[in-house]
Structure formats: structure tokens, C-alpha cells
Symmetry: C2
Subunit: 206 residues, 2 copies
DNA sequence: AGCCAACCGGAGCTTTTCCTCCAGATAGGG
DNA sequence: CCCTATCTGGAGGAAAAGCTCCGGTTGGCT
């Protein structure tokens, strides 16, 4: 039989439940949330959580990794879908908003920032977006001074947790925001942007 | 002598230090952060924190209140500055980004949402923005389907904490994002927006 | 079906956080 | 400068969270 990972089926299921609960609670209360609460919301024992994630940072890291993987998959799927650069960006942001509750990249200035797998995913995401931008500039549908970093930042902002709002309202807000932002990316009559500052490394989302 | 509040000078100073530390830590780690940590970062004893803020919710509420007050002041100052609606929005968002580290409205679906002072400030902010929008539509410089709620949401997104980035990089990112967003608010060639969903109450930022 | 390596849950010990209380310090009016 | 109402910091008991360990359960191979 095909094994997705080296884990047994029940273990894999529980791992997913824990990650889902962690995503929710990180978004609602931040990464300082009690691990007991995460286990409780996941419906597993605390021992199960600690077996799979030796400490808080390991859990944060895995949540972040899945988030970055999802983003990369979204960008690649949008590119594979074809169309011009504008269409690719539309599709990318549409899917980012759709999956924003999964895109929890806890934004912690800790071990996550230094993890090589995270950095590799970041490079892949930025690289793919840069290619899209290059195309778009060639087609004249995108202003020239936008960087891939701007786009990742925009995605991060649109994915901002808003746990005080009903889910659909938060989703609608994000979708509308992104629509305006994308429209603002067009070169026609665009005023100059403030200077970029080197981010020096890690990019994080919601 | 003029008393800003009923507090003694040292008490007022410490209150500010505690709020500043709380803002930082809420942004970095979320509202579940240990209150001891907040007192330590503020450089005051834990007793001082508890005397001023009887529990976590009181602290969260006061941080939120100051944030909403700041936003309202920003909007009103921008309107007082004059110019057309577009200029008012430019100025509003410029200052929001400038003060984004102070605009911590913890986004917790708890007591904050129900506090009457918070709701009053929200109404004032939304009301002021609606007037600006009405002007802007009259002048033809703003697309007609944008709501005040969209604008508050945009501000919240731009204020998103990004503690993993150097401060200047995060600021530049926010400023550039807002510039693109504002450009996207112009009606020329704008595609239709997704439908709005009623937020049902509380609005929160950063 | 039968077996066993892998996994589960939570009791329970340790560490941290919560919160109260009060002896000593200080602002600021007279 | 002195007095006192107000404020401070941190010790310390209670409560919660962090973390480990092991008896019992279960998936999945044969």
C-alpha cells in the first residue's frame, strides 16, 4: 500500500487534527497560546501532541511549512493555468484568499526564519512570482516597480487573521481588497511608489 | 496644575509603558502572551500591571481603545487638512501606516467587541469615512462600490504585524501596499468587486 | 485471524504564570 | 520642606501550563 509518510494512518490523522487546531488558535490568539488548548481543540491527548511535535517551535515550524507549501502550490497551479501575467496574478490571489485560513505562517522571528526548508520554499515562491512579473511587464499590464516581495506582502496582508469577524465577512473583505489591489497594479496613471527596503530574509503570511 | 487624568505622574508614566509593551507583545506573540512578560518588558513590577489593569481583558480593551482613538484622530486630521477626497484618503492611509505599530486592536472576539466605547469609536470612524467616500464619488475620483468597511479593512491589513521583518522593511512594504491600493480605488477601468458580506459588528486593526 | 510494532491518552510531576497583598518609596500640595 | 494620599515592586500561595511516562489500544502485515 502507498504510504503518504512513514506514519500510521491514525497517527497521520491526528497530526492533521493538531495542525488544524494550531492554525486556528495561532490565528485567534497568537503563537503564545497554550499547547493544552491546541490538544483539546484537536480532540487528542496532550501526549499525542508532544510525541509529534517535541516543542512549541516544532509545531510553529510545521504550520509555517505547510503554509509555504500551499502558497507555492497555488502560484504554480495559477501559472500552469496559463493566460497572461495579469490572469495568473488574478488566479493566484483568488486562491490565496480562498485558502487564507490554511496560510498561517506565524511570523515569529525565531527558528522558523532560519529553517532551510522554509528558506527554500520562500526562494521558490519569490522566483516564480518574479517570472510572472517579468512577463507582465513585457505585456505592459503591470507597473514596472512592483517586486515579488510586494506581492508576497500583499498576500500576507490579505490573509490577516480577523477572528472577530464572521468568517464570510472576513473572506469577502479579503477578496474585495485583493480585487482593488490587483487593479492598482496596472501601470496606467500610477504614481511612484515609496522606496523598497530590503527585507533581509524571511517572508511570512497570515 | 493641569491633570491629564486622575493618575499621579509616575502612575501615568507606568501606564503608558505597560500599554506600549503590551502593544509590542500582542503584535509579536498574540494576546495570549504572559502578563509577566509584559510587565518585564515595560520595566515595572507585576503588581503595577495588575493594579492598573485588573485582568487580561481590561488590558486588551485599553490597547484597543487607544488604537481606535488614534485611527479616529488620523481620519479627522486628514479631513481637516482639506483637499479632495483622494487627498484625504492619501493622507489618512499615510498616517495609518506611519502609526501602524500603535494601531493594535487585538481582534479578539471577546469583551472588546461589546464595549460601548469601542462601538462608538467604530461608528465615528465609519461615519467619517463614509462622508469622505460620498465626496469622492461626487468628484468622480473613487469607484462607487467601495464601502467604509472596505477602507477600515484595508487599514487593518496594511497594519498587519510582521515581527519577522526589520521594522523599516515592514514599514516600506505597508507604505507601498497602500499606494497600490489607493491607486486601485480609482474608477477608471475597474472590474466589479465581489459582494460585500455584513460584518455584523466589530472592526479591528493590527 | 493473529500478532506486534506503533500509537494513544491522560495521570502526575515540574515549571511557569496568575494574582493578591503590604512594607516601603514618591509625587506634589500647602 | 514636610506630610500624606497615592503609588511601587516583588514575595508568595494558588492555579495553570509544560512535559514525561507507561498501561492499554489499534492499524496493518502475514
Amino acid at each position: 500500500m502507498f504510504r503518504m509518510t512513514g506514519l500510521r494512518a491514525d497517527a497521520r490523522r491526528n497530526r492533521e487534527k493538531i495542525l488544524a487546531a494550531a492554525r486556528e488558535l495561532f490565528r485567534e490568539q497568537g503563537t503564545a497560546v497554550a499547547l493544552d488548548d491546541i490538544a483539546r481543540r484537536a480532540g487528542v491527548g496532550i501526549g499525542t501532541l508532544y510525541r509529534r511535535f517535541p516543542d512549541r517551535d516544532a509545531l510553529i515550524l510545521d504550520v509555517a511549512l505547510e503554509g509555504f507549501e500551499t502558497v507555492l502550490a497555488v502560484v504554480e497551479a495559477a501559472r500552469a493555468g496559463g493566460g497572461g501575467a495579469a490572469a495568473v496574478l488574478d488566479e493566484t490571489f483568488r486562491r490565496v484568499v480562498e485558502q487564507r485560513e490554511r496560510l498561517v505562517m506565524p511570523l515569529v522571528g525565531g527558528p522558523v526564519v532560519r529553517d532551510p526548508r522554509v528558506r527554500k520554499l520562500q526562494r521558490a515562491i519569490l522566483g516564480a512570482l518574479e517570472e510572472v512579473l517579468a512577463e507582465g511587464r513585457g505585456e505592459g499590464v503591470l507597473r514596472a516597480d512592483i517586486t515579488a516581495f510586494d506581492l508576497v506582502g500583499a498576500a500576507a496582508m490579505a490573509c490577516r487573521p480577523m477572528p472577530h469577524l464572521p468568517r464570510e465577512a472576513a473572506g469577502a473583505l479579503a477578496a474585495r481588497h485583493v480585487a482593488v489591489y490587483l487593479h492598482g497594479l496596472r501601470p496606467h496613471g500610477a504614481p511612484a511608489l515609496p522606496d523598497m527596503v530590503d527585507p533581509g530574509g524571511y517572508l511570512g503570511l497570515g
